[in-house]
Each structure stands twice: as C-alpha cells, then as structure tokens.
Symmetry: C2
Subunit: 499 residues, 2 copies
C-alpha cells in the first residue's frame, strides 16, 4: 500500500467513523433529553447495530495495514494526518482485541445499565443496579486484561480517561489533597455561615431557562453552534465545533445548581468549539483527555465563575432576570453565597473546597472494586463509611450516596480522578494566564473573550493533536503540583471565612 493510498483509506475510515459517531452521539443526547421514556427499546436496537457497524468499519485487515503504512512514513506525513493515524491505531487496537459480539454486547449492556441506573437512583434501590454493575466490572476487567495483561486493571482504566495516569501517581496526589485540605475544611465547617435568605428563591424554572441563555452569552458561547437541553445529570456532547449540546437540570429552590452546571458544561463546550477547523470531522476534533476536558469546564465553573470579579457581571444578569429575588443583594454578598462551603452529600453540588474529596472517595472505591477487594454488595456500606470518615456526613440513602453518579452505569470506572486532576491543572493554567493577561479586570467587565483566547491558544485549538505530556506542561508552566491547587483553595477560603 502506498502512502497516498493509505491516506485515502484513512479519510474513508474517518468518514465512516464520523458519521456513525455523530449518529450515536445525537441518539444518546436525544435519548437523555427529549425522547419519550419508552423509546429505549428502539434506540437500543439502533445503537447496537451502529456499534456493530463502527466495529466492522474499523476492524478489518486493511485497517491495520493502512495505519501502519502512515505510521511508518512520519517524515513524509503532515502532523495532523500522522496524529490521526496514531489515535485511530489506538482505537483499532482496542476494538481489534475484542470479538465483535463481545463489543456489541458491551454496548448493549451499557445502554441497558444506564436505564436501570436511573430507575435505581429514583427508587434508591441498590439491589436493582447491583447485578448490572457486577457485569460492568467484569467487562471492564476483561477489557483491561486484554489491553495490558501485565498492568493492574485499574491503571488501564485510568489511562483511558487520563493518558498515563496510574495509581502510583494518583495515590500521593489524593493523599496531598486530603492532608492539605482536611484541616481547612474542618475550620470552615466550624465557622459555618447561614444560607442567605435571598438564595431560597423561589426560582421559577421558566426564568431559569432565560437566565441560562444569558449566562451562556456571558460565557461567550455561540448559540448558533451550541444549544442547551435538560437532563437529570448534566453533560456535554459534541460532534463537531458547529454542533455541541450541553444540558442542565433546574430546581425551583436552587438557582446555583443549574447556574454552575451551565457554566461547567459551557467550559467543555468552548473547548470543543475552539478546536482548529482542519481537524474537524476527524478523531482529533475532541478534547485530548478527560482530565484536560475537566480542567476547562472547572476553569470556567470555579476559577472564573466563582471568582470575586465574576460577581460583577453575574449580579447584573441576575438582577435583570430575577429583580425581586436579588433585590438589595450586593456583589460581596453574592460572592459569599456562591462560595458557601460545607461538607455535603452530592458531588456535583459540592463547593469548590470540598469537591476533590468527593472524588477521592470514588477513587478509593474504584481501586478496591476493580482490584477485587470490594464486593458490589459492600459498596453502599463502604461509601457511607468513607463519607463519614472523610467529610463527616451521614448518607441517608443510596440515592444520595453510591447511586448519585451515572459514571459506573456507562462503564466509566477510572473517569472520576479526571475531575480532581482537571481542577488542579486549571489552577496551574490560571497562574500562567495571569502572567499574560489582566484576567480579573476583563472578567469584572463581563468580557471573557481574552480568557477564552488564552485557553484556545494554549489548549483548545489543539484538540487531540498534541499529546497531554507536551500540552500540559506548556499550558501549566510545569508539571502537575498538587500544592498549587491546594494553595489556591486554602488562600481563597481563608480569606472568605476569615480563618
């Protein structure tokens, strides 16, 4: 096969892969937003067939040859094409090692598990979900053993979400978070502030929908390329830079929950929307790792969205949409209200200070679950024990405990650490950004475009082109350092709580 033939075949592969991925992504988003509940059966059939096609399009003898041909001609191949071949080779190897029936059966298991998890969560019924989780764990272990038989299974799963992440690296990372943050969390809890009266709302859903649109505009999200849906568990799903979907969830008695979901998912969306045009419709048009993706979402959510400077434009918008609820509220009061810290039950609702310890608990549980040291039946008890030990809270039921997150239902073991890593990456990026631009003046003006331009230059534009080991140190000004992250949190909450 000549190089030109191989490149042509690569383009054909990408065309099929884009189309099937596009369809699967839209079916998933539709299924979770506006589809009727009973649609799962037909969607399952369609998804299973599309998975089968995805497998068949990629796993055929000529694919290996095609990709090898390109990889052997690095000097004659442009950077984008070479990297596409590299990434597709990884996907090919991952699919290739599984028989198709097993691959399709796994997709069906995930589809079914997600539906069952929702019912289990609604009814706080661990026993309903447990047999599915059992199967998912078996499937993930089997995947890991095929992919890298010599590595611990959980390291293989971590690597899927955060390239090269290992327990050897994460153990000290999470230990540092816990050791550094626990004393502050305790001190803050001792000085608990009352929830200010204005936060109680009520916040009519219809007004919150209008508010969301204004928040997206403030964040700089182009509505021609990104729309907002409503789901139980907010997420972002993009097929290309001109078609990104984010979702949120409204509560009449809580405006902050949806506000920070919108900003968080909006951060993911901006990343996808800023990837270079020449990588669109290829496997590079995506975030490079989950950790880097979360670094962007949590950058906008916390470093910007919960900053003192952001309170200026935020209060203005809130007063426009909620004049009665926000009557008389000052920027300082808003800043304090959006940064109330208190150990709590739900990760996605957790404050910035306690958040990463929610992640740490999941990391410990996943290590044990995948490593074989924790039975599925024992997860609720262990979850509750860790929440008491680490955060000092009593878990009343599994809905507010080990059934709260969707991740395990889609086989996403190894995903959670990305949230904490991303938070840490983001703080290091902010330090670098502050050297280049006057972040807080522009944020206070309600103009986030210089912030997004900086992130686009350092991170977004590259999509999956640069490897994380090249991308991250350049954007962060050095290697990962947990103390930069904990230092930022300690400073912020020491000031906020006058410790």
């Amino acid at each position: 096969m000549t190089l030109n033939e191989a490149i042509e075949k690569l383009n054909e592969l990408e065309k099929a892969s884009y189309a099937l991925g596009h369809a699967q992504s839209i079916l998933y988003t539709d299924g979770d937003t506006v589809a009727p509940k009973n649609s799962w059966k037909g969607r399952g059939k369609a998804m299973a067939y599309l998975s089968e096609l995805t497998y068949k399009q990629l796993v055929k003898p000529e694919t290996g040859e095609t990709l090898e041909t390109i990889l052997q001609h690095k000097d004659e191949t442009d950077e984008v094409t070479f990297r596409r071949a590299e990434i597709l080779k990884e996907s090919y190897d991952e699919l290739h090692m599984l028989p198709m029936e097993e691959y399709v059966a796994y997709q069906e298991l995930v589809n079914e598990s997600m539906t069952v998890w929702k019912d289990a969560k609604d009814g706080s019924d661990w026993n309903l979900f447990a047999p599915y989780l059992e199967k998912l764990i078996t499937a993930r272990r089997r995947f890991a053993s095929l992919k890298a038989p010599d590595k611990p299974a959980y390291d293989v799963l971590l690597d899927l979400h955060e390239k090269d992440a290992t327990m050897a690296e994460l153990d000290p990372f999470f230990r540092a978070l816990r050791e550094d943050l626990s004393p502050v969390i305790k001190e803050v809890a001792a000085r608990e502030k009352p929830v200010p009266a204005f936060l109680k709302g009520p916040w009519p859903v219809e007004k919150q929908r209008i508010f969301s649109q204004k928040v997206m505009a403030l964040e700089g999200i182009d509505p021609l390329c990104c729309t907002l849906g409503e789901t139980e568990h907010p997420f972002t799903s993009g097929t290309n830079k001109w078609d990104v979907r984010i979702t949120t969830h409204y509560h009449e008695d809580d405006v902050l929950s949806s506000l920070y979901s919108v900003i968080h998912e909006g951060g993911h969306a901006l990343y996808e929307m800023d990837v270079r045009d020449d990588m669109q419709f290829t496997c590079l048009a995506d975030g490079v790792t989950m950790g880097v993706h979360e670094s962007q979402s949590r950058f906008y959510e916390n470093l910007i969205g919960r900053s003192r400077a952001f309170c200026t434009p935020l209060l203005k918008v809130m007063k426009e949409v909620f004049p009665e609820q926000m009557k008389g509220v000052t920027e300082d009061e808003l800043y304090s209200a959006i940064n109330l810290s208190k150990p709590s039950l739900i990760r996605t609702e957790a404050d910035e200070l306690t958040y990463s310890l929610h992640v740490m608990i999941r990391y410990e549980l996943e290590k044990a679950m995948i490593g074989g040291d924790l039975k599925v039946a024992d997860i609720p008890g262990e979850w509750n024990r860790l929440y008491k030990e680490v955060l000092g809270v009593d878990v009343p039921d599994d809905k507010h405990g080990c059934l709260q997150d969707s991740h395990w239902s889609f086989g996403g073991m190894g995903y959670f650490p990305s949230y904490a890593l991303g938070s840490a990456y983001g703080v290091q990026m902010l330090q670098e950004m502050e050297k280049d631009i006057d972040v807080w003046t522009t944020v206070a003006k309600g103009d986030l475009s210089p912030v997004t331009a900086w992130l686009t230059e350092k991170v977004h534009q590259y999509g999956h082109l640069k490897k994380p080991c090249d991308l991250l140190p350049a954007a962060m000004g050095g290697p990962l350092d947990a103390t930069v992250y904990t230092g930022y949190l300690k400073k912020k909450f020491t000031e906020l709580y006058k410790l």
Copy 2:
C-alpha cells in the same frame, strides 16, 4: 436459497434498515427541533453516509434473490412476512434502479434544500430557493422516468404518496370539491363573523406548553411513548410504536394554531402507536399511505377536534389553563370560534371548509410543474393568480404564498393531494363509526378511547399490512365518494352560518 434462509436474510435486512432509518429519523427530528443552527454541516455529512449505507445494505445481488424466494412461496409464508417481502421489494426496485452516487446526491440535495428553503421563507426570497427546486424537479422527473417510463411523471409521484392515485382519478375529485364547495365558501364569506374578543389572547407560550400536554392527554396519547417538540412547520416522526415525536409551533396571539397542530400531529402519532406489536421494527410499522395517514390526523383535528361535542371537554381544559382569557366563554361560543371560516393565505391555518381548495391549488401547480408546463420562475405568479381566482385572496409575498410549505424542499411533490383525500376518507370512516358507537356522547365526556379503539380495529393495527385497496373500502363502507365529504362540510357550515 431456501425459504428459511431467505427469511433469515429478510430479518437481517430489516434489522439494518430499522437501525439506519431510526438514526436518520432522530437526526432529522433533532435537526428541526433542538439542534443548533450551524449543525447542518455535520448532520449533512452523517446523513449522506447513512443514506449510502441504507442503499448498500439493501441494494446487493442477494437482496433480489432473498425477496423473490419469499414472494415465490406465498402459501408457505405467513401474512406478515410475505407482506414485508412485498414492501421491501418495492423499496429495493426503487433504489436498485438508481446508481448509488445519484441516490446519495439526492439525499444531500434534499438536506441542503430544506435548509435553504427555511432561509428563503424567512426572507420571502423565491430566487434563493428556485435553483434548488429546479434541481429537485429534475431529480423527481428522472426518478419517475426510471420507475415507470410509460407513465406520466406526476402519476408516478402521486403513487408514492397515495398508492394507485392518478391524475385521472384526482382531476374529477378536485373538480367536485371546487364545484360543491365554492358556492358555500362564498355564502359563508358574505356572512363573515367577527373574531370574538377572547380569541385575541394573549396566550403566553409557557401556558400553551402546559395546554399542549393536557390536549395530548385528552386525545389519549401516552406521554411515555410520544413527546412534543417545537418547530417552524409541525410534523410527526415515528420510529416504532414506543417512540413517536410530534411537534408544534406557538404564537402568542393565536392559541388555535398550536392547538390544532397538536391534535393533528397527535392523530398521526396515534396511528403509529397503535400498529400491532408483531410488525414493530419492520417495514410494516408505519401508515399504509400518506392519504390514510392524513385521514387519521385530520379525523382527530377536524371531525373530532372541531366538533360541537368536543367543545365540552376542550372548554374545560382551556378554562383550567387560561382562566382569564376564557372567562365567561360558553361552549357554543367556542364552537363558533374554532369554526370561523374565511378564505385565507396559509394552508395549515385554513379552516375546515376552505382547506381542500388550498390543496387543489397545489395539485394544479404540481401537475404543471412536473409536467413541464410551468417554469420555476413562474410559480409565484401562478400561485398568486390561483389564490385570487379560487379563494379570492391577494397574496402579499412569497412567504405567505408559494414558500409557505416545506414539502417541495424535501422533494415531496405528489404529497399534497393526500391531505384532501385523507379528509374525504375520514368523513366516510366517521359515517361508518357512527353506526357502531355513540361517537358524540363519548367525545362530549372527554373520552376518545372508543373512537381510537374503532380506528385501531379498522385502520391503525394493520400498519402497512393490508393494501389500501382492501383496507379503505372496509373502513369507509365503500369506495371514495367526494360528495360524502362535501356533503358533510355543506351541512356543518350551513348550520354554523345559518345559510
């Protein structure tokens, strides 16, 4: 190939066809409801590839043999399987005669034309849409010439939407409608009633959304299997009986527009939701023709939804949702208000009496357009001339004229007559239904289930199983008779307007 082998291959074909059709349907619905505007590019790529796959899955040498094998063993094959082979053979023949590139290019043309049509309609800019319509006409003519070179092209297109319909049958049908109805329309117009004050609203969109849900419940639509979206041009799209989508469009100053869109699309939805379980996920799980589909939608919309009896439950629901707007309004006032008749510009907003003449105008234009007697550039003039001649109204611009409907933009020439045929079928079905059940007592009680049960028994359950030539006379108590339809309209409007 043995019969058993053929049946197995048929099942494989249906599996692929269902999955690809499911994906295309959801992508279309998503694209028209919640997708960001700029998503068209990626969707176009995905749709083109899925079309290519649809073609490739069906058009291969073994398909012909598979279907022929089954068709040659009628006695040994069950009714459902045999009919599936028959219907797939028609699709196979239609696809087979076109080279794949031409088929895919046509799908792309349709995708692009629909986007352009929307912009053209928004800007009332015929010249923007004209070159696309030109290409669509050429493509439809070419399709017709390949499918049945000896038949007039428009007859071939009519047959696609209403099996066996021909100009020879439709010319006298539409002539009868025009001759019978024109005098009544004139008399009614002479006794024009003022629009009652309460109709002016305003009708807040948020309240209308709640109203829609209640109307769907009144119509007997299971929300677990059917959800409502919002689009410029309302439509119904179903992939199986457990997953049907309908859409509507809200206007602050007009509550009836959305109300009757919801009831109309709800009628389509009920048809799809009542097809027998054993035909789901096969090519039989659909309405048998467009005309029969429209007979159901217009049955609920007009024969039920605009009946005197329906005003009892309808008024109740309206007073619940719109207590201020509906204060003091009586059932008789509501009945009069929902049946105001006046020649107007927009087909989808037309009253029951004048509606079919809107269709007749389109029928005449399409005959000339496809027959080669009307140039694309001359359509706006001819449209406006016919509206003046037939309905006596002046068309102010193409947005309210020849750009109002989406049908041509998706190549649906030959579709419009189905609306008038469906209306006529429905009235004949109602006559039969009245012999079996006490229609108006149950409708007045707000219980439409006996109506739907009757339609399910006679029409819905069969999906595409029975041929229209068998299904319709049984449900209608005889052949199509335009005078039954016009007789119904004349009686209703003579009473309403005390002619």
